[in-house]
Amino acid sequence: MSTVQRDMSLTGQPPKSLNGLQKVATVLGLSGLMIILLAGFNLNFPNKGLWLTISLVALTAGIILFAKATYANTQEGIKNDGVWFKSISSRGFWAWIAGLSLTGFYIILYFFPQFLGLRSEGANTGIIALFDPLSRLLSGNQASQWFVYGTLYTVAIFAFGVKFIWKYRHNRYEKLRTISVMFFQTAFAFLIPEFMARLNSESFNLPYYDLKNIWPLNYYNFEQYRVDSFISSGDVGLALLIFGVISIFVITPILTYKYGKRWYCSWVCGCGGLAETAGDSFRHLSDKSEFAWKVERWVIHSVLVFVIVMTTAVISTYLGYDSEKYWLTKDVFLIGVAVFLALLFGVIWFFKKEELKQDARYGAIGYLVIVLSFIVIHYASGSKLFFFEAETLRKSYGFLIGAVFSGVIGTGFYPIFGSRVWCRFGCPMAAILGLQQRLFSKFRITTNGGQCISCGNCSTYCEMGIDVRAYAQKGENIVRASCVGCGICSAVCPRGVLKLENGPLENRIQGNEILLGNDVDLMKYVNNN
């Protein structure tokens, strides 16, 4: 569109321009960030506890004040004015600055923590040292880069969560699930593991465990050092280990059956929590093309296969090392995994084959063959080799998926690719939940007869890149593996067309294809084709 840009003022016109209070809030928030940056440049603050408090309070207050300045004087309703005009939310200059800064932060966090002040020996310096007082207060230990990250992450979910609630204050579904992610992040991801660390002694040594962080998202949960720790910590440790196993094999299937993957992805998960709160301003940047959908299906399921092979290899390796220590032997474990996967595949194939598209069938068979042949090779060869060295697999997964994909790309590129890149393309947990949501769940988004006007708000604001409109304008239910049930499509719809629901399994996928309003005979012809 040939928009004539006649405005020469620096801050722009409404709805782009900032109001007075927003400017104050920006200064406040940035001053909080500044303190952390100064610590990063090794400015040694005298009273670290005080300065850290000032910093975090300023950061939080700045974000919340900005939200107040943005929404408090508006009426309840959808607040997307100017989203595509503002530099930060339309891949403009500030978006690139933010993206590059975040990416840089993740690279330093994962690969160069020494720049944050991590010292292999002795006391921390820099930013990590600034966070020491808080860490000592919670766990009694000095801070690590992960503590710094966890604190900032929690602050972000909390402060931007308040912003999100303000923005969607007319929508109870949005408010409740945001309170939920704020709670799970603060309590489960941040505080409880720190308190658990306090319980540790020489005889009792629980690993850092965010209880809601379920394997395979928590891909390292069953590594040897953690399993050993769990086992060495008596009944509590054993209970936690068992909880980790039933989380994925029992709790997840039940809740996903009843509510869809949203119970996890947009009510509990920390990655989802950050995407929904801090990432909300970028949700519309997801790629909606069919091509992107195709890439998504292959990439996310490949990651799932990767994590299954990797985890199987890692576990079988340490089972193999020490058959005395674990009641499960390597042989039993490998055969068990193979039988489980084959059975799972068989059940899906038997009951749901018709619902799988051609490429999904090829993919499913291909992946099953790959996984089973790895297991067979490993079993037959009898060596420590799992085709690749298990340790190599683990390391490359941790580097490629755990760090680069979920962190650097997934979060660092929020302002460029949208907020759910990791959840959509990479997260193996989302892949498992998605398979179940598509095949065995009561969840769907229903559409409302003939009311859709194809405006495209739903598709635009879908963070997972689902072309919601394509279904809504046909009057079809939306049952997509990737849907995290954030509810924003329903919120932004100006005609009341979309509703997230849990309902009976019958006709869930096909839905009511009849676009109401038409004479019934005509619809028979239309639907026949």
Partner: protein, 436 residues
């Protein structure tokens, strides 16, 4: 191979093309002078407000058309020659057709106001209108004030659009209350308050007398008929309804009224020429519907219907129960069946009205006084399920039944507060003499 030519790439033209392609291998050409690809006209406002970009308003990817062998041609048809079975473009090019479907939509009404053709005066219907608006009202510096003339759905959308850029808006509405030719009093008055709460200068019972020109032929003010007040402005939005965009057919011998006259099969007076969507005018209105229906979904349904006919199954256009929806700033509106305004309702139509104390939600239910039958419902701020009301209307349920079962029809998101009990007790109080 039979060549189907469709003039207009809006929802009607595109739907007919898609359904012909589903059922046949005919050659299909869609002609438009507006945009290269189909976009959702109803979303124009969201582009101006920055919610979406133009590309997001396209319901199909650009590759869709080639994949489905639907030819798109950009061009302006200036003449139709039914007897020669050809159309002529304004550059002189000709195109032959075997069947022609006219789906050219509407244009904004102009009622002969002095100054209506000045610069800075425009309706809001086509993509070019949006570009025009970006030129004359890009921000509150270039456009210090805008006046909107005509209180309907497009008028209130335009008011919302301009207000997102903080451009002060005066909204001239001919009626004594916003849209009260369509809405009952309680709803219309609630919307008056809502419009004002968004800082729109709403002037009811106010007609446009004249648009005043500056020395360059650009609008600089409007004069209000009733008061003679001159309101300075930089942009005037003409939103007093739309009318079929059929000037190019005047010499064609195709029978025209306000729109292209069609029978129930959407056929014009020439074999092989059809008209659908906003520009089609029924010889006899269908039920309580208007002869010309400028509504998104009726365009879609007419497209589906004609596609069946063209592919060999002659099909009558038979729209079912009336329904519609809109959004007035922050308040969503849905309607199922018929709820008439005080001005239009017949003697036997009685209303039950409930309004929430927050003044953003209300419903009105219309009942046949004699039979107690449910005639229709308007809801504001509460989403209702189309399927349920369609069924209840078909089954001719009583209003008592509808009110008892209202929660079944609720379509609000999960965890929303519900008001069915409150509504039912209000209804029982008001109508106890009738229902007992």
């Amino acid at each position: 191979m039979e060549h189907i030519v469709i003039i207009g790439n809006g929802i009607s033209g595109v739907t007919v093309a898609r359904h012909i392609r589903k059922r046949s291998n005919k050659r299909i050409t869609i002609i438009s002078a507006e945009t290269d690809y189909f976009f959702s006209r109803t979303a124009l406002m969201y582009i101006y407000m920055g919610h979406m970009k133009y590309e997001h308003t396209k319901p199909y990817e650009d590759s869709f058309w080639k994949k489905n062998r639907i030819d798109l041609k950009k061009g302006f048809v200036s003449e139709v020659k039914p007897k020669d079975k050809k159309i002529i473009f304004n550059d002189g090019e000709e195109m032959a057709f075997d069947k022609l479907i006219i789906a050219v939509g509407s244009k904004s009404n102009k009622f002969g106001w002095p100054g209506q053709d000045l610069e800075g005066v425009r309706g809001l219907y086509a993509f070019q209108d949006l570009e025009y608006l970006e030129q004359f009202a890009p921000n509150k510096t270039v456009c210090k004030k805008a006046v909107i003339v005509g209180g309907g759905l497009i008028g209130i959308e335009l008011a919302e659009m301009l207000s997102t850029r903080k451009i002060p808006v005066t909204f001239l509405v001919r009626e004594s209350s916003f849209w009260n030719g369509v809405l009952p009093k309680g709803e219309s008055e609630m919307l008056n308050r809502h419009i004002k709460s968004h800082h729109i200068d709403l002037r009811l019972s106010s007609n446009l007398k004249e648009i005043v020109s500056d020395e360059n032929g650009k609008a600089k003010a409007v004069i209000v008929e009733e008061t003679g007040e001159e309101i300075p402005c930089d942009f005037v939005g003409l939103t007093a309804g739309v009318t079929p965009n059929i000037d190019f057919l005047k010499s064609s011998e195709i029978e025209l009224g306000r729109g292209v006259k069609v029978n129930r099969y959407l056929e014009t007076n020439f074999d092989d020429i059809y008209a659908i969507g906003d520009c089609a005018e029924q010889y006899q209105p269908i039920g309580n519907r208007r002869a010309i229906e400028a509504v998104w979904y009726t365009g879609r349904m007419m497209g589906e219907t004609v596609a069946q006919t063209i592919c060999g199954t002659k099909t009558e256009y038979k729209p079912g129960h009336w329904f519609n929806s809109a959004k007035f700033f922050d308040i969503e509106y849905q309607t199922y069946g018929w709820v008439n305004s005080e001005r239009n309702k017949k003697e036997n139509e009685i209303h039950f009205h409930w309004k929430h104390k927050d003044d953003t939600k209300c419903i009105t239910v219309a009942t046949d006084r004699d039979s107690g039958a449910f005639l229709g419902i308007n809801t504001f701020g509460i989403r209702m399920k189309h399927e349920i009301f369609d069924r209840w209307l078909t089954e001719e349920k009583s209003t008592d039944y509808v009110m008892q079962h209202l929660s079944k029809a609720n379509f609000d998101p999960e965890f929303y507060a519900t008001f069915e009990n409150e509504i039912l007790s209000a209804y029982t109080n008001q109508f106890q003499t009738i229902s007992s």
